[in-house]
């Protein structure tokens, strides 16, 4: 069983479009894990049935016990996030502003402030239209993704893949290089970076590649919308070569990406032509590389 993680650094490069296409191409060989929990999109394309749903708890927020509170105001003085206000002579904590640092709880002389674990959303195990399963999550409004939630989604995907003897786990990572991305990378066998020839695309490609190198994971790259800036595209190709990133494929800007999306389809369901062939070749390339990597070990 091999774990493949797809990331991009920059958002909007086509990462999820490609992840869901690979999911469809591999059919029942693969468990998908959507770890882009801040803005999960894979469900739009893969039509999960939400077969099993679980509550997810993460992080703590301060809660005042008014039976103990003497309104001394020390909490409000120390709070660095302006989470306190006085409403009708009572100290109130804004759930949006509270960062859960617990400073107020620590200094309260009456021990009237408790840190309470928060329900931040749900996570699911679903059957999807590729014939396989997907692990994914949905956050409540204002809740944020975390390394913890990503670890949860990945561990569940790994457990199911083991139980059902799947060949691959395909992880749709989140943009950026922060906690959730770090969490999505650990334990992976192979990374695919989806990038685009724009200034921010290149900048974020370099940042995320530095992170991947730190974890010593074999890395490959896809240049999407490669024809929108040929000079920048060459810069990426040179960077791939210099960094030893295996260049899987370059895809031209193609409105079929958007058309497929608006119909709720993956590109490989919508387009049977050149685009299909290129994406299919890229997926075969990935599985071949994993094969040879396995043999050399």
């Amino acid at each position: 069983m091999k774990e493949i993680v797809i990331i991009s650094g920059k958002g909007g490069t086509g990462k999820t479009s490609l992840t869901s296409s690979f999911t469809m191409l591999s059919g029942n060989d693969l468990i998908a894990a959507d770890c882009d929990v801040d803005a999960p999109d894979m469900h739009l394309l893969l039509k999960p049935d939400l077969a099993k749903s679980y509550e997810f708890y993460s992080g703590e927020l301060a809660v005042i016990d008014y039976d103990k509170c003497t309104s001394c105001g020390i909490c409000m003085e120390v709070c660095r996030f302006d989470a306190f206000s006085i409403i009708d002579d009572l100290y109130k904590i804004s759930k949006i502003n509270c960062e859960g640092c617990a400073y107020c709880s620590y200094v309260c002389p009456e021990k009237a402030i408790e840190m309470v674990t928060q329900n931040v959303g749900k996570w699911y195990i679903s059957n999807i239209k590729s014939g396989s399963q997907m692990v994914h999550a949905h956050l409540n409004v204002g809740a944020e993704n975390s390394g913890k939630l990503v670890a949860k989604v990945k561990n569940e995907a790994r457990r199911i893949a083991k139980e059902t003897d799947k060949k691959y786990i395909l992880v749709d990572g989140s943009p950026g290089i922060g906690c959730p991305v770090i969490s999505s990378l650990t334990g992976a066998d192979f990374v695919v970076i989806v990038t685009e020839p724009t200034a921010s695309g290149i900048h974020d490609l370099k940042r995320v590649n530095d992170l991947v190198k730190r974890f010593n994971i074999k890395c490959s790259g896809i240049i999407n919308k490669c024809d929108i800036n040929p000079a920048a595209c060459r810069e990426i190709e040179d960077y791939f070569t210099a960094e030893g990133i295996h260049h899987l494929v370059s895809l031209s800007y193609d409105e079929n990406f958007t058309k497929a999306m608006t119909e709720g389809k993956t590109i490989v369901e919508y387009d049977n032509g050149e685009l299909y062939n290129k994406i299919n070749n890229a997926w075969e390339n990935i599985t071949d590389l994993l094969q040879t990597k396995g043999e050399s070990q």
């Binding site: 992080g59 390394g147 913890k148 670890a151 650990t186 334990g187 730190r214 010593n216």
Partner: protein, 112 residues
């Protein structure tokens, strides 16, 4: 020499955890005394953010000279670990703790 392992369980037959910050346990083997201690990292693994540095802090209490893990700690955890001069070996992605220890003894692991 004290050697720490990031693991999914307890005992020599426990599976290695390639993660550092959110590993379930750290096992600390004291080569001189031939004892295997368990540090439960469950509370740290359960944190929403900042698991890496917290895990490093937990590990310090056991004063290990060497850490054996899978991918290697992330940037923040690494910065904390560097302060102690601990030697980090990576590449023990799976298999048992015993196998990881043998790999370390045979110089098959990479220095992080």
């Amino acid at each position: 020499m004290k050697i720490a392992f990031s693991t999914k369980g307890e005992g020599w037959d426990a599976e290695m955890d390639p993660r550092f910050g959110r590993a379930a346990y750290f096992l600390i083997y004291d080569e001189d005394k031939d004892t295997l201690e368990t540090a439960d990292n469950g509370k740290v693994a359960d944190m929403a953010h900042g698991a890496g540095p917290q895990a490093a802090q937990l590990l310090f209490q056991y004063k290990p000279d060497v850490l054996i893990t899978g991918n290697g700690p992330g940037g923040n955890a690494d910065r904390v670990l560097r302060q102690t001069g601990i030697k980090i070996y990576i590449g023990a992605m799976s298999g048992t703790v015993k196998q990881a220890y043998d790999k370390y003894k045979n110089n098959e692991l990479k220095v992080f």
